[in-house]
Amino acid sequence: MLEACIFATILCGFFGIIFKKNLVMKIISMDVMSTGVIAYYVLVASRDGFFTPIVSNAKNGAYADPVPQAVILTAIVIGFSIQALMLVGVMKLARDNPTLESDEIEKNNTP
C-alpha cells in the first residue's frame, strides 16, 4: 500500500514535469518526484524495523537498515543544490520572459 502511494507520488511528479507549462511549476514537480524517490529509499530501509541503529544500552530491537538512509542523504543534498541552481537560472530568464512559459522560452531560444 505504502509502496503504491510512493510510486503514485513519483508518477505525479513526472507527469507534472510534462504537463505544467510554467518553468517554476516544472521545477516543483521535479521536487515532488525526488521526494517520492527519497521516500522509497526510506521504505526500503524500514523493511526489517523502525529502530534507529545507534549504540546505546537499550535492548536490541528490529533495526532499520542504515545503508539506504545514509546513501539517500547524498541524493537529498545533490537534489537540493540542483534545485537552487535551476531557480537561479530561471530567475535570470525571468528578466526577459516574465511569464516563464516554457514553450515561449523554447521558441525564443532555439536557433
Binding site: 510534462i18 546513501v71 547524498t74 541552481l85
Partner: protein, 479 residues
C-alpha cells in the same frame, strides 16, 4: 597503488578550489591536473593487472580500475589538456578553469567506480559542472540550453536512483555485479538513466542542441568525454553481467543508425558533429569488449573537429561551400575527418576494424550502413574549398596538433589491423560514401524536423524508452 589512486581522484577537486583562491595560477594548475591524469592512465597500461578497491566494508564504495578505464581516463586527460591549451590566450576567468577541472575530476571518478551510488554522485557532479560551463556566457540562450540539460539529466537520474535501490534490495550491495540478481525493473530504470545521460538512442536527443549551442571549448569537452561518463558504466555492466550484453549491443546498433541518419541530412557544422557523437557512441556500445579503444579514438577526433569547427568562418555548409577556408585549417580538418571515416594510418582505422571484428553476425549489416553514413557525412567537410586566409591563435594549433598527434600515435595500439583485406574494406566504404555524397546528398534540401528535440518530448520519450526496456528486460532475462 591504492593510495595513489585515492590521491589522484581527490586532486582535481582540491586543486579546483585552489584555482579559485589563486586566480593568477589558474591555467598552470588546470594543466597540471590534466597531465597528472595522463600520467596515471599511462601507468595503468604498464602495470596491466586490474586494481579493485573496497572502501568502508561491503556496502561502501567500490572502485575497479583496469585497462578499459585506462583508455577512458587517457581520453579525458588528453581532451582536457587540449581544451585548456585552446583557452590559454583567451580571457576566460578562473571560474571557467575551476569548473573545467571539477568536470575533469568527476568524469574521472565515473570512470573508476564500480557501484551505483558513487556513479550517481559522479554523474550528478558532472551535471552541475557542465551546467555551469554551458551557461558560462550568461546569455538567455545559453542559460536555457543549460537548464534544459540539467532538467533532463536530473529526471533521468531520479529514475536511476529507484533502480539502484531495487538492486540493493535484491543483492544487499550497490555493486554493478548485483545487476545479475536484480529484478528486470531495476535493470530498466538504471539503463534508462544511463542511456538518457549518455545521449543514446531516442532518449538522448537532448544532446545535439546542447552540444551545438555551447561555446567551442565546452562542446569539445562535452562531446569528447562527458557523454562517455555514462557510456562507460553501460560497457562495464555488459562486461560484468553477460545477460545485459545483448541489450547494450541492440541499443548500440540503434543509436549508430539513428545518429548517422540525422547527421547525413544536417546542414549545420556543429549540429552535424553533435549528431555524429550520438552515432559514434553507438559504435562503442555495439562491441563492449573493445569499446575503450574506440572511445579514445572518438574522444580525440571529436574534440579536434569541434575545435576546428569553431574557427571556420561560418556554421552553415551552404555558406562554407562558397568561402575558401585557410589551407592549414583545411588539412587538419581533413586528417580528422579521414580518421573518423576509418582511413588507414590513423587510429580511427584500427578502432573500426577492431569493432567490426567483435560484432555479432546480426549487427554487421547495420554497422556497415552506419560506417557508410559516416563517410557520407564527413564528405561534407572534406570537399570544402580551401586556399583562403584566416588568423588563428597559436594556442589553437597547440591544441589541435596534440589531438591529431594522439590520433596518429594511437594508431600503433592495434597494428595487426594492417592486412590487405582490412585496408580495402574501409577504402571501399569511403569511396561509396563519397559517390553517394556527390550523386545524392550534396544537392538534397531535405530538412529533418526537430519535433523530437522539444523539451516536453524529451521527457515524454523517457517513459516510452522505459516501457521498451521493461519489455526487453523481461524477454532477455527470461523471467
Amino acid at each position: 597503488m591504492s593510495n595513489i589512486t585515492i590521491a589522484w581522484i581527490a586532486l582535481p577537486f582540491f586543486l579546483g578550489f585552489v584555482i579559485y583562491l589563486l586566480p593568477k595560477l589558474d591555467r598552470y594548475l588546470a594543466l597540471s591536473v590534466a597531465l597528472v591524469s595522463a600520467g596515471y592512465a599511462s601507468q595503468l597500461f604498464v602495470t596491466q593487472s586490474p586494481l579493485t578497491l573496497k572502501l568502508l566494508d561491503n556496502f561502501g564504495v567500490t572502485l575497479a580500475i583496469d585497462q578499459l578505464s585506462g583508455y577512458f581516463i587517457l581520453t579525458n586527460a588528453l581532451v582536457t589538456t587540449a581544451v585548456i591549451l585552446y583557452c590559454w590566450q583567451t580571457d576566460k576567468t578562473a571560474f571557467f578553469y575551476t569548473q573545467t577541472i571539477i568536470l575533469h575530476g568527476s568524469v574521472n571518478a565515473a570512470f573508476v567506480c564500480a557501484d551505483f551510488i558513487s556513479l550517481y554522485v559522479a554523474l550528478e557532479v558532472i551535471s552541475i559542472a557542465a551546467f555551469l560551463l554551458i551557461a558560462y556566457p550568461r546569455t538567455d540562450r545559453s542559460i536555457w540550453v543549460a537548464l534544459r540539460y540539467l532538467f533532463v539529466s536530473n529526471v533521468a537520474m531520479l529514475f536511476y536512483l529507484v533502480g539502484a535501490v531495487l538492486v540493493y534490495q535484491a543483492d544487499h550491495s550497490f555493486s554493478f555485479a548485483g545487476l545479475r540478481v536484480a529484478p528486470p525493473e531495476a535493470l530498466a530504470l538504471i539503463f534508462l538513466g544511463l542511456l538518457t545521460k549518455g545521449g543514446i538512442f531516442v532518449s538522448g536527443l537532448w544532446l545535439p542542441l546542447t552540444h551545438s549551442e555551447s561555446e567551442t571549448p565546452v562542446s569539445a569537452m562535452l562531446s569528447g568525454v562527458v557523454v562517455k561518463a555514462a557510456v562507460y558504466p553501460l560497457v562495464r555492466c555488459a562486461l560484468m553481467v553477460n545477460e545485459v550484453d545483448p541489450i547494450v549491443r541492440t541499443f548500440g546498433v540503434g543509436t549508430a543508425l539513428l545518429g548517422v541518419f540525422y547527421a547525413v541530412f544536417e546542414k549545420d557544422t556543429k549540429r552535424m558533429l553533435a549528431f555524429h557523437t550520438v552515432s559514434q557512441l553507438g559504435f562503442i556500445l555495439a562491441a563492449p569488449s573493445v569499446g575503450g579503444f574506440y572511445a579514445l579514438t572518438h574522444g580525440l577526433v571529436k574534440s579536434a573537429l569541434f575545435l576546428i569547427a569553431g574557427v571556420l568562418p561560418s556554421r552553415n555548409f551552404k555558406e562554407l561551400q562558397h568561402q575558401a577556408i585557410a589551407t592549414p585549417i583545411w588539412i587538419a580538418l581533413v586528417i580528422a575527418s579521414f580518421s573518423i571515416s576509418g582511413f588507414p594510418l590513423l587510429s580511427g582505422f584500427g578502432a573500426k576494424v577492431l569493432t567490426t571484428k567483435n560484432l555479432l553476425p546480426w549487427q554487421a549489416i547495420a554497422m556497415n550502413v552506419a560506417a557508410l553514413g559516416t563517410a557520407i557525412s564527413f564528405a561534407k567537410f572534406i570537399f570544402l574549398p580551401h586556399g583562403g586566409t584566416a588568423d588563428v591563435r597559436p594556442a589553437f594549433w597547440a591544441a589541435v596538433s596534440l589531438l591529431i598527434g594522439g590520433l596518429i600515435l594511437a594508431n600503433v595500439v592495434y597494428y595487426d589491423a594492417y592486412t590487405v583485406e582490412n585496408i580495402i574494406k574501409p577504402l571501399a566504404t569511403i569511396g561509396i560514401g563519397w559517390l553517394a555524397y556527390f550523386l545524392v546528398f550534396k544537392h538534397s534540401v531535405f530538412k529533418l524536423p526537430r519535433v523530437l528535440e522539444r523539451f516536453e518530448h524529451l521527457i515524454g520519450v523517457m517513459s516510452l524508452i522505459l516501457i521498451l526496456l521493461f519489455w526487453k528486460g523481461f524477454v532477455w532475462l527470461g523471467i
